[in-house]
Amino acid sequence: MNDASAPVVLAFENVSVRFGDDEVLRNVSFALQRGESMVVLGAAGSGKTVLLKCALGLLPITSGRILLFGEDVSRLDEQDWYERRSHVGVLFQEGGLFDSLTIEENVAYPLRNQPRLACPEDELMRRVEESLNFVELGHTLDKFPSELSGGMRRRVGIARAIVTQPDLLLYDSPTAGLDPITANTIIALVIKGRDVRHATTFMVTHRYQDGQMLSGYRHDPASGLLVPVNGARHTARTHYLVLRDGAAVFDGSQEELEASADPYVRRFVRREESA
């Protein structure tokens, strides 16, 4: 299913993470190529968020190797991480917005604080407005995060993640705790981000529907709406990793996922289908 010529953007090689006596990730391996999307599924506490944070160097790994844009970042110093992180956009589970800053300041934060992304103030404002318009929240510039709903905060989080035009976008449970309509709006934005900006997408979620939408729909630039994908080529761009108690129990396409004989994966997919 992979295009062998595409460079690997993010790869885990036998990565384990231990907190005290608990091993929260066990020998996890996968590779994500440029332009691909990966959906990481798993129940609560299966290590999904830890996996995402390790990819950004926010948590140290105990053993194994992480390759980010082809470079081994497993043992990088915190100071050296800052430049690498400027190539990656991230949406945290609750948005991770700074309470004390306005929406405009939140979205402008990476541009103001990452030396590689420094730009003149008028250019910065243009990019902030463009990003907020992308998530249809251009009117919230002067508001504070506490004045917005949960779904709007996630959308601002997406705006902040894409404002740097990153090569890799990480989403941590973007639909957790949201009603189905808002959740679909968020996934529509994830798809839009993927198709408009051609960024490699890594999404951690507990909802199988999120993955189904990501692989089954594409953004139509003419209408601005999501349209179903017909044809295997586009579907093949999304693949799944299923985590159970910190170990990867599945890595493959949606068809392979649905055909999996693994009882945990079967139960996971069936439950989501019946939900």
């Binding site: 944070k53 926010l58 992180r85 991230v90 609750e94 991770g96």
Partner: protein, 252 residues
Amino acid sequence: MLEILKAPVFTFQEFIVLAGRTIRGVFRKPYYWDDLFVQMDLIGIGSLPVVLLTGFFSGAVMALQMSRALQTYGATSQVGQIVAITLVREMGPVLTALMVAGRNASGMASELGSMKVTEQIDAMRALGTDPVMKLVKPRVIATGVVLPLLTILADFVGIVGGWLVACVLLSLTTSAQYWSNSWRALEYNDIAQGLLKPFVFALVLSLVGCYYGMRTTGGTQGVGRSTTQAVVVASVWVVVLTFIIGRIFVSM
């Protein structure tokens, strides 16, 4: 036995690492001046009423309590000397630090703790900012600058409180004698001790507040736990350190 010691030793080690990174950061860029001035305002101006009130009444109570003992020996004229020395050496720095620990170390722990559990600190790191430079350094510098100043004010209003009780309320001595004795009683050693203490307390209590905030886990319950731990640990360190510093100065 070793298992019991493991957690406190690990905590102390983490604290020392944070302290080391912060102190090294004080001499390195970037400097977030806005954050520094906001913190100075929050800690300095914000704590002023409670610090002045505490200082005033501690001086007043000291004069009140000393009055009977001094009358016994016919030494009521020495009240200014006793109030000044006790306040400048010990009571002013300790009480001011305890007030600031209760008000600001807890505030730092709860603010940083809330940021930690809502992933704002992770977001900060992900978006190119070192939380030690952005959050811890301004708080430590601000407390280090402001706490000695607050202590000077607390000492002064404490001596005024003592004067009110000794001269106006109880007429133990004349105003001229009170102020003259207070002034002459203080030596450079007392002033040095009285200014070194709040500076050391400031470093410790701000670092303790930030440390417990930064290591918060377990949601809102964890924030409450961190806040309590920060106040208790900072207060205990203040009284332990005042003994250690006092011991050094006494033997000098």
